[in-house]
Each structure stands twice: as structure tokens, then as C-alpha cells.
Amino acid sequence: MRRHWPQVLRTPVGIVGIALLTILLLLAVLAPLLWGDRATATDTGDILSGPSSQHWAGTDDLGRDIFFRTLVATRLSIVLTLLATALGVGLGLLLGLAPLLLPRRLGRIMVAFLNVLLGFPSLLMVLFLAVILGVSTSSAVLAIGVAIASPFARLVHTLGAGIAERDYVAAARISGVNPVRVIVRHVLPNVAEPLVVNATVTASSVLLAFGGLSFLGIGVQPPQYDWGRLMQDGLGSIYTNPLAALLPGIAFVVTGLAFNLTGEAAAGTFGAKSRSRSRWTSPAAPVTVRPSGSGDEEHARVADVLDVRDLHVSFPGPEGPISPVRGVSLTLRTGEAVGVVGESGSGKSMTALAVAQLLEEPGRVTAERLTFCETDLQAGARSDHDALLGTSLAVVFQDPMSSLNPVMRIGSQLVEAARRHQGLTRQEASDRAVDRLRAVHLADPERRARQHPHEFSGGMRQRTMIAMGLMGTPRLIVADEPTTALDMTVQRQVLDLLQETRRDHGTAILLISHDVSVVSSVCDRVLVMYAGRIVEDLPSADLRTKARHPYTRALIGAVPDMATDLDAPLTTIPGQPVDPRNVPDGCAYAARCPLATERCRQDDPVLVADAIGSVACWHADVALDVRIEEEAR
């Protein structure tokens, strides 16, 4: 917590909020001392007068000065607000945390009860309690405190239950830490921040609720007065002196703002996080031109599906652009399957999104060449290529649970693109959708098409994504970790389906995975990515025997398969992957590479093609001979 308050103060909104709060607190302390007398002094000769030089906001029915009364009322208004807030927050904490400590069943009943209470608007609760407790200032405090306790308790419970589900809470319970201590030590500190923010905002609604009660004459009772009371008094003379009612109204707004602004700033609506995003200056990443290989003409004919040369992806960062992809070149022919492997953060997904033209602002894609089906995707506007991409390029993402729209029927999601790009009628499109669902081996496709995604299992959703691609005539499927979230047997089925699609339609496949065995079971060629570059490109059949890049070899050695030697430890890769914010000079892998030499640390190796494939390593020849020793210690 403490760490975060200064950050609140760093945002302009936070400064305004805190400054207003400070002024109000000062007023609350000082105003009754300084102007208490002037606020109560009656002047029967000058009642209900308008603003004048003596009485800036006029006088009330006893001739008392409304301006000073408003200032003096600050104390009561704020003290009552804080009292009721403290009461409500305290009660809310107790009520909200209790279900976490009570036996399961009792806790459930309590949460249900809180839910029932929540159905009633708090003003109604306040009125109800005000009736029972009688009309007085203290009963109003009690009533408002109790009324805000239930929504606050609900929030405490929701947040607390979220934390209580965390593994570290389970771990603490398993090690025998007693339940109350688990709450105090693990749950409370982790919910404190949103609770403080919410309590601040709650304070502003308490202020209004109290004002409302007093305004209605059932809150603060005379001779005491708060802003609500003053407003009600002023309302009678609204035609003669509107300021009498408006001045306390302004006090409400200023105080409410003080609480709300502070709360919002603390909640990060205006937080520093979003500020750094805007400091985006340099428009384009420098394009490093690399020597391109053989004759371009022939190359283009072979790479008829996809031809990417020197692809860069960059994002604005606080210290200049960050480039997760730094010069990737790749080609795909009809019916070819190419895999991309690498650790997470190596730029695989960014490459996929860039190729599929799905990278959004503020990400930037630049490439020396980016052609799909012999069309230059960099020429013209993005929408010029909609028809081509919408019918010929399909994508499958990692998380099957979130990649279909939960509120639309499966059928509607399939037909959209075909209706737009292929000009099919509604009937033709939906017939085709059913046909495509059948093609991906979903049983009873007519019924399935009418269902919603939540009625599908993970594997069925990934099939649906593939079916979506098959609505057109897919030349390329970009699949980013399509089976990572699936079970082994379902993974097998989805991979088989990809193979089948490739065989039946000549569709090329760009398959991204962190799992070398998945990639090598489907693909002809494997590209190994490290720190936003391709470091090796070789046939997947040669992966286990002919890999030369130390990184490729380590990746393979780190993953056990059904033939791994049980007596030898697995290969480990020391250190951490490269942070794209901070790419070292020379070979990016040098810090983790057992073969690194001075040359590696200075010069960046380029991807060199030969008989086996391509590799970017100064010591590629050595690597093949050296058995990489494990070096975890």
C-alpha cells in the first residue's frame, strides 16, 4: 500500500483529489473555531436576504449568514461521513471475511443472504433503518453504516474468495497455518489495495446519502446542521436567493469530487501505466537489410503461398521502440508445413500475428517483402486485402475457450466471412457451414451449428476454428499453439485434422509450438526462433540428429521423450531468455551458450544456408560434434 500512495500523487488527478481532501479537512477543523459565532449570529433585521457585501450568500430565515454556515457545516458533514463509512467498512470486512472462516455450508448461507440484501437499493435500507431507529443524527449514522456494509461485504467476499483460491493460500493451509492467520497474513494484504480505493469512493456515496437524509429532514436534526439541512432550508427561498440552496450543493460536489478523484487516481484510471504508453515517439524501426540469397524470380515461384523477407515487429516503449521480432524471413509453398519452435517470448506469436495481418496499434510491422498468394500485403490499404485474406488465410489460436464469441451461435460465426467475401446467400452459407463442421468430424453438425461455444469441448472448438478456415479455400493455416491447452488424445486428433486438411486441400501450415515433438510430428521443416530471430532452419527429420545450433540442441535435450536415457540428467539451459527491451550485442544466445567465444559476444552471426538447412552460429561446425554437457549446478 504505502508504496503506491506516492504514485497517486504523481498523477495530476491524484494531486487535485488529495489537495481538495486536505483543504476540506482543514476547513472541518478550523471553520467552527474561526467562524462558529458568525454562523450562528442571528440578525432579525436582515432575514432571507439575497447576496450582499455583508452576507456573500445571503441570510436564512433567522438572518444567519449562509456562507459561513456552509463553511462551518463542513465539520459535521465530513465527520458524519467518515463515521458512517468507518462503521460500514468495518462491518463489511467482518461480514465479507466471515464466510471464508465459517464452515462451508454456513458460509454459503451467509453469502446467499448477502446477495439477497444486495438486491435492495441502499437508500431503501437507510429509510427502513431510519424508521426503526427513530429520526436522529446517530441513528442516521447507524442506518447508513449498515446499509453500505452489505455491498462492501460483497466486494470483500468476492476479492477475498478470489485470493483464497490461490495456491499460496492452499499451501499455507497445508502447512498448518491457522485459518485466522491465513486471512490476516495472506488474504487481507492482497485485497487491501482495491478495498481502500473502494472505501474512498464509498465515502463519497455516504456523503450523498447523509446529505439526502438531512435534505429530507430525517438526518441531522436542528439545531445541528450539515449541508443537506442547509440545502433544504435554502430550497424554500429558491426564487429569491438560489445561492442559499446552491452553495451547500457546491460543497457536496467539491467533497464528492475530492473522494472520487482520489479513489480513481488510486485505482489507476489515470495511472502511470497508461502514461508511459503514450510516450511513443520513433515512428518506424530501422530496417536492417540483409543479403538475400539466390535468384529472386525463382524464389517467388516456389514460395507461392507465403514469402516473408526481413520481418520486424516493434512496439513503443518508454526507452524507445521494443522489437520482439527482428528480421525474420520465411517462405511457404502449397501444401508445405513449417513449424516454429522456441521458448516463450522468443517472438513466435508476434511473427504469426504479423504474417496474418492481425497485429494492432501500437504494434508496427515492417518487412522488405510480405507477400501472400503472390499479393503484396504491404501495398494499398489493409482493407484492400480483406477478400483474399478472409477466404484464403485461416488462423487457430492457443486458447480454445476464448477464441469463439460466447454470445453467437457456432453457425453464425462460420457463415459471416463467406457471406461477406464469397457473396453466398444465407442458405448457401449455412449449408456450407454444416458441411464444413462435418468435414472436421463433428457428429450431428446440424445441431452443433445451432449451439453456442460453451456447449463445445476444447477439442471441438479448435476443430470449429479449422472449419471456419475451410469455409473459404484456405491456402494457409496459421496455428499458434493450437493444441497446448488440449489433452494428449485430443491433441492427436487436432494434429491429424491439420494433416488431413493439408493433404486434401493443399493448404500450407505454419504451426507454432513450444513443443518440438508436436512440430516434428506434423511439419516438413522446423524454424527455431530465439530473441526475435530465426537461428536455425532444418528438415524436421534431421532435428534430433543434425541440429547444429547450440540452442536447438539444448531445446531437444531438455525435453524427455519415450526413448530418453533414464540414467542421464536432462539438458538444462542456464540463465533467462533475452528481454526484447534489452537485446545484447553480438549473438543473443551468447550469455547462455556453452560454446560462446569472444567473437560470439561481438559479432552477430547471420543465417547461412547450406546443404542441411540454415544456421546462425559462428561455431555451427563444432556444435555438431560436441555433446552438450548438462550444467545445472
Binding site: 488527478v13 439477497v116 438486491g119 435492495f120 437499493p121 437508500l123 431503501l124 429509510l127 427502513f128 431510519a130 424508521v131 426503526i132 427513530g134 429520526v135 446529505g211 435534505f215 429530507l216 430525517i218 440545502m231 429558491i238 426564487y239 438560489p242 446552491l246 450543493g249 457536496f252 460536489v253 464528492g256 472520487n260 478523484l261 480513481e264 489515470f270 504508453r277 494492432e360 496499434e361 501500437p362 485474406l389 478472409g390 488465410l393 488462423v395 489460436f397 476464448s402 477464441s403 464469441n405 460466447p406 454470445v407 453467437m408 460465426q413 466471412a417 461477406r420 468430424h441 463433428l442 449451439q451 453456442h452 460453451h454 469441448s457 471441438m460 471456419m468 488424445t489 485430443v490 486428433q493
Partner: protein
């Protein structure tokens, strides 16, 4: 290819069955809530400190009048008997009689309730009519750190607007529009013009809050995977925003609207007071002041019932929009 048995089982669905369990659960919750409400309003009179009848009639009232009123209200009977009678009367629509006027409470409430709803319903509609387009437009325009200045002024304005309580808005509107400019009536219910200020007063704050919520929800939805899927189909951005993103963003917003409507109905208490509007709000306040407890009791009951009904309707609407919401959450 044979699809896994378990997978099929997991995915086999009985939509009809799920709807019924959802409806059953929802009806159960409504009934329990109603029971809590009825019991609470019954207990209200019992919990009032001192003798409610004496409190209502004043300390100078003759003792035999008090006694006869007590007998009339059945306050001297055993608690359980009173409770059962109260429940029984409720079913026949009998909410008792006012202590002061001795008119049937139900009649007074029905009459006044229409006045209140004629403010709350238009205000509710106006709130959404403002919040959804504004929130969506702001989300699309300020997405991914674009147009920081527009975002800042939008969020700032909406915070300022939502910090102004409805009774202050009311007073300000009366002072400026009715008194200063003399355009619209300041009080009373007299023609279409008299609706404008109270409805505005009721909806400005909620519209500011709601549009901010719509924007935040919309921003989250626009970053969801399924929106990326929609973009991968190269649909028009209008279709992506309105067909794919909006329903998902609105579902979350709609969930809050039940509570908002209930709060709005309750908010009329204050607004009616300023505009001298003949509604339930002014009735409840005057009856609390005059300690006319049967009238208070009836009004609380009706207010609460409206809130519960609104919440239930919203849940049904959400379930119709988003089929997922029919599962889970007890």
C-alpha cells in the same frame, strides 16, 4: 475419426434442461428475497421504539383513541397471529390503513407509484440511450492509448458529473432553468414539460457512471481473443464492433442495470421532494416524518418488490443474451 467418448459426453447439452434449472434457481431466489422483504417490513412496526400508535397520534391523543387504534391495527394480538394475518392480507392486496387518514394504504400507494414510475422509467431508458453509444464510441476512439486527451476529458467529465447528487442536480436545474431562464416549470406535474427536469436530474449521474462502465467493458471485450478471431475473418469494423463486441460488453453492463433501476426508483424520493412531484417518494418521506407506519411499511414493501423484480428481469435478459450465464452461480 472417432471423437473421444468423454469429450462427447462433456459436450452433450440439454439446453431445455439447463433453462429450467436456471429458471428454478432464479424463482427460488426471488421467493426467498420476497419473504425476507415481507418479514422485514412486518417486523418494522414491531421494532419501532415505543408505541407506534402513540407516536403517530402524538402525546396528547386521548388514551382510548390510542387503544382503539391499537386494537384496529391488531397490535395487541400475539406476534405470530399478527404475522399470519399480515401475510394473508397481503395476498388479498390489503396493506392496511393509514393511521392518520385512515384511507387504505394500497390505494394511496398505487396512485403515487404511477407518478414515481413515470419518472423512473423514462430516466432509466434515457440513461441507457446516452450511456451505450457514448461508452462504445469512446472505447473505440480511445483504444490502445489513442487520443489520450479525449480519454482524459471523458473520464474527467464523467467523474465530475457522477459526483453531483441527484438532489443537487435538481436544485441546480430548478435554479438555472426554471427560476433564472423561466423555461420549464419548477415544480408539480403539469404537462410534458414538467417531466424534463426531474427526468434529467435522475439520469445525468447514472448516465455518466454507466457510460464509463460501458467503455471499460467494451475496451476489455475489444481485446478478447474472439474479437481477434472476428478480425481474422476480415469483417467490416462496424460489424466487429457492433455484432461481436457490443453484445458482450452490454451483458456485463446489463447485469448492473437492475441495481441501477432500483436505485433510480429510490432516487426519486429526493427528486420528487425538490420538484414537489406527486409520487411515492414524497409520500414515504412525509409518512416517516408523521410516523404513519402502515404507510411507511407499504411503501417500503413496494419499493423493495420493484427492486427485486427489476433484478430478476435483468437476469432473464442477460440469460437470453448470453447463454453461459444460465450455468453456474447459485
Amino acid at each position: 475419426m472417432v471423437i473421444q467418448q468423454a469429450e462427447v459426453q462433456q459436450a452433450v447439452s440439454r439446453p431445455r434442461g439447463r433453462w429450467w434449472t436456471f429458471a428454478g434457481r432464479r424463482v427460488r431466489r426471488l421467493l426467498i428475497s420476497l419473504w425476507v422483504l415481507v418479514t422485514a417490513s412486518f417486523l418494522m412496526i414491531q421494532l419501532v421504539p415505543g408505541d407506534p400508535v402513540r407516536a403517530a397520534l402524538g402525546t396528547n391523543a386521548p388514551p382510548d383513541l390510542v387503544a382503539s387504534r391499537r386494537a384496529q391495527l391488531g397490535l395487541d394480538d400475539p406476534l405470530l397471529e399478527q404475522y399470519l394475518r399480515y401475510l394473508g392480507n397481503l395476498f388479498t392486496g390489503d396493506l392496511g390503513e393509514s393511521i392518520l387518514t385512515q384511507l387504505p394504504v394500497a390505494d394511496t400507494i398505487v396512485q403515487r407509484l404511477l407518478g414515481t414510475l413515470s419518472l423512473a422509467v423514462p430516466a432509466f431508458l434515457l440513461t441507457f440511450a446516452i450511456a451505450i453509444p457514448v461508452g462504445v464510441a469512446m472505447a473505440v476512439a480511445t483504444r490502445r492509448g489513442r487520443r489520450r486527451r479525449a480519454e482524459l476529458s471523458f473520464v474527467g467529465t464523467s467523474i465530475v458529473l457522477s459526483s453531483i447528487p441527484e438532489f443537487v442536480v435538481s436544485v441546480a436545474l430548478v435554479a438555472v432553468v426554471a427560476v433564472n431562464l423561466g423555461i420549464l416549470p419548477a415544480a408539480g406535474r403539469d404537462g410534458i414539460g414538467s417531466f424534463v427536469l426531474p427526468v434529467l436530474a435522475l439520469s445525468i449521474g447514472p448516465a455518466a457512471v454507466m457510460s464509463r462502465i460501458v467503455r471499460v467493458e467494451m475496451l476489455a471485450v475489444l481485446d478478447a481473443d474472439y474479437v481477434r478471431t472476428a478480425r481474422s475473418k476480415r469483417l467490416s469494423s462496424l460489424r466487429i464492433n457492433l455484432r461481436h463486441a457490443l453484445p458482450n460488453a452490454v451483458t456485463a453492463t446489463l447485469t448492473l442495470s437492475g441495481i441501477m433501476f432500483a436505485a433510480m426508483v429510490a432516487g426519486t424520493v429526493l427528486v420528487e421532494n425538490v420538484f414537489a412531484w406527486p409520487g411515492l417518494g414524497s409520500t414515504i418521506v412525509s409518512s416517516i416524518r408523521s410516523r404513519d407506519y402502515p404507510l411507511v411499511q407499504g411503501s417500503v414493501l413496494v419499493y423493495g418488490a420493484i427492486a427485486l423484480l427489476a433484478n430478476t428481469l435483468v437476469d432473464v435478459a442477460v440469460a437470453a443474451l448470453d447463454p453461459r450465464s444460465t450455468i453456474g452461480d447459485s
